[in-house]
Symmetry: C3
Subunit: 336 residues, 3 copies
Amino acid sequence: MLLSEIARDIGGTLAGEDREITGASTIEEAAGSDITFLANPKYRDKAGACAAGGIIVGEDLGLSIPQIITPNPYLSFARTLELLYPEKSHVPGISDMSFVHPDASVDESATVYPFVSVGKNARIAQNCVIHPGCVIGDGAVIGRSTTLYPNVVVYDRCRIGEHCILHSGVVIGSDGFGFVWDGSKHFKIPQKGIVIVGDHVEIGSNCTIDRAALTSTRIGSDVKMDNLVQVGHNVTIGDHTIIVAQSGIAGSSHIGKSVTLAAQSGVGGHITIGDGCTAAARAGIANDLPPGKVVSGFPAMDHRQWLRVQKITKDLPDLLKRIRELERRFDALSKD
Amino acid sequence: MLLSEIARDIGGTLAGEDREITGASTIEEAAGSDITFLANPKYRDKAGACAAGGIIVGEDLGLSIPQIITPNPYLSFARTLELLYPEKSHVPGISDMSFVHPDASVDESATVYPFVSVGKNARIAQNCVIHPGCVIGDGAVIGRSTTLYPNVVVYDRCRIGEHCILHSGVVIGSDGFGFVWDGSKHFKIPQKGIVIVGDHVEIGSNCTIDRAALTSTRIGSDVKMDNLVQVGHNVTIGDHTIIVAQSGIAGSSHIGKSVTLAAQSGVGGHITIGDGCTAAARAGIANDLPPGKVVSGFPAMDHRQWLRVQKITKDLPDLLKRIRELERRFDALSKD
Amino acid sequence: MLLSEIARDIGGTLAGEDREITGASTIEEAAGSDITFLANPKYRDKAGACAAGGIIVGEDLGLSIPQIITPNPYLSFARTLELLYPEKSHVPGISDMSFVHPDASVDESATVYPFVSVGKNARIAQNCVIHPGCVIGDGAVIGRSTTLYPNVVVYDRCRIGEHCILHSGVVIGSDGFGFVWDGSKHFKIPQKGIVIVGDHVEIGSNCTIDRAALTSTRIGSDVKMDNLVQVGHNVTIGDHTIIVAQSGIAGSSHIGKSVTLAAQSGVGGHITIGDGCTAAARAGIANDLPPGKVVSGFPAMDHRQWLRVQKITKDLPDLLKRIRELERRFDALSKD
């Protein structure tokens, strides 16, 4: 498409000649008919050497290549990618190599690929795409325009919202981890609740989200979860929260809205994390956090404090030497 | 069912009027015909305000709602959940959308859902439920009354015991991680052993348990494993051991009986952990542990020591100041 | 097979009588017609008590059982395992319970088991074995002699090399984790790149490797990855690199050749790790590393420094006491 068409669709201004754009790439690799972007003025030098067919920028940089000027170049570039590489379309209908229970309801605009199993009273709404190998339990609900990539499992009665994306291997609604010792063995506490996932949620590959014991594990809307994340039973997660890869949240914890849990972090059980908190990578949160806190380390502490602590920890051998020197000086003093 | 029937079935005593119970809930949410429980006398206040149709308690609290008195209210409540919400029943038989090798044996009381693959000489015992998408390798054995949730994979020749529950995405028997450098590349050490899982074992979603190189990786009976746990080749795990989410055990380690490994913990290779040990969340165990030890941290140390160390670590900036002050005072002294 | 045949095939010398060998086991358990090996001279005592039918050793130890002498007993034993336990053979052909798009190409020497889905324009080369439940996306390529164990998913257009082994539940090519805040919600940055996996790569169960945003995530040849490893978008991993279980690499990082990332380690985003580096278990790498570095801890530091730091950290309560004592002595001094 033409640069002028892109500029119009993303709400930007074209400065320079109009050209045909056929792809997108990074500022280093873009060439010919590729479009690229510059979000951080720090990398302006790269823009000067850029051979792209066009570049999305935050202000007119007087470059020799055509520029599209927008207030948020990164967001505009993401939108441009959508224009250039539209989502693959799927032919509606149910593969005759799939199994759909006669009492299930699948909207006729949905696509159900082969080897999908849809349980009794399950409901798949408009425009859903259910890739091969997915299993949708009895009474489960998949909201409209939601995509389940291959081999996603949604256990009985769990509910996924609209416009969600669940990547391969995601498991929604397996039993929460609850046992009580009966004197000779672990007695399983029946897990009879469900999982409710909001709208516009994306869940990465092989994540696991357990059903509640009695009520519901709840994932808010616009929550984005990276791969291999674990969410325990009865957890609630507020809207817009981001959870990066390999993090885990133990049972009955409540994560606020717009929280960020960076990679490989962990939250203990029965903990409340306020809105807008950020946990750095590897943080292990063992106590409640008021809104807006930024924490690091395990057990998690204020991020700035952690930075200071880490700096000193690294220098502990030196610190030990200084203490020994003080002791030596003292001993010498005492001998006087 | 009636409160009196529940009391009889769980071996408790009903104090108060008999009522019809139709569900169960938490002490805060229970109302109308719900039953609930109070395990911790600390929360007695909540019981006073509780609107449930009945409550299971450890002693007569003189509440206005009917009470069932039992020695272990939490266990009794778990049993009540089983009464109120019986397991879904499954129609025995093999789906004609599944593949069962002609030399496999599937008991006629077992249920095999669509898209299941059962290999040569595999054996599925009485009352098993094999959900869609499971793959059972050649010569593998699934003991009676065991449930495999969707998309579980059991590699060739591995053996699962009786009354086990394997949640979605569990992989039993993938190759152990073993290579030897041959001068130009990593030569794969063939992994020819198996995995043997005991009885009454529950394994959480997307756990991975590797087959032994030559002998067997062994999971004892009544072991309970949360989601996303990794068990390396040749590991043995004793009966009743609990392994919480995202923990990992490296190859050839031996975990005793009734051990607890809390979330995100790790055990190095070739390590022996005695019976009854507890590793706190995030513990990383790099050395053998005698029976009964409680450890924390990485490298793991005695839990009480770790608590003290953590307290001081947090205050390291203050400690550094005190050392500086001592040095200053000394220097001032020397100048005198 | 005879010991003399094994000796010939692995390039070793037989010392002692020739015997028929039917299996292999550990030095402790080998008996009768089993063969075993001794790689570490430290365990020579065990060899003396060994009841195996034959033993592979690095030099003539004058044992009473027949010895095969080779320069690298462990490697030779691995080769012997291949001789004794040849890989299972698979009947070529496509199961009529699978779905192969008419525009896909599957070599006639490949085996495609039931419930496999092969997308449009996908290509499966000679001698591949595609186990049940695998899903191969549109335009994806599987190189010759590669094995996909059950329930592996390869998203559209991703490319797997030759002689690779992907264990169950591996996900190749799910979307990278990229969003930009648009003022009211997280806007998804379309992930339009691919994943390219080299030759002789082994990937453990339930690993997840994300596709690049625009270009490609690249896994070099002879890379070996244990279970539950996460690889973010745009990451590149050099040849021969080893990544142990539950480790994670954040987006856009570059891992050199012959690197070892031990279990549960992590690498931050946009980081470059030089060839031949080693990260100990649990290391969290937050900065670039020059070639050959050995690091531990989080944030990762030189391994020897980390050992010193850990030793002192454990003794912090003692250190605190010593500081208090110094302060006390000073105060006493001042009072004089």
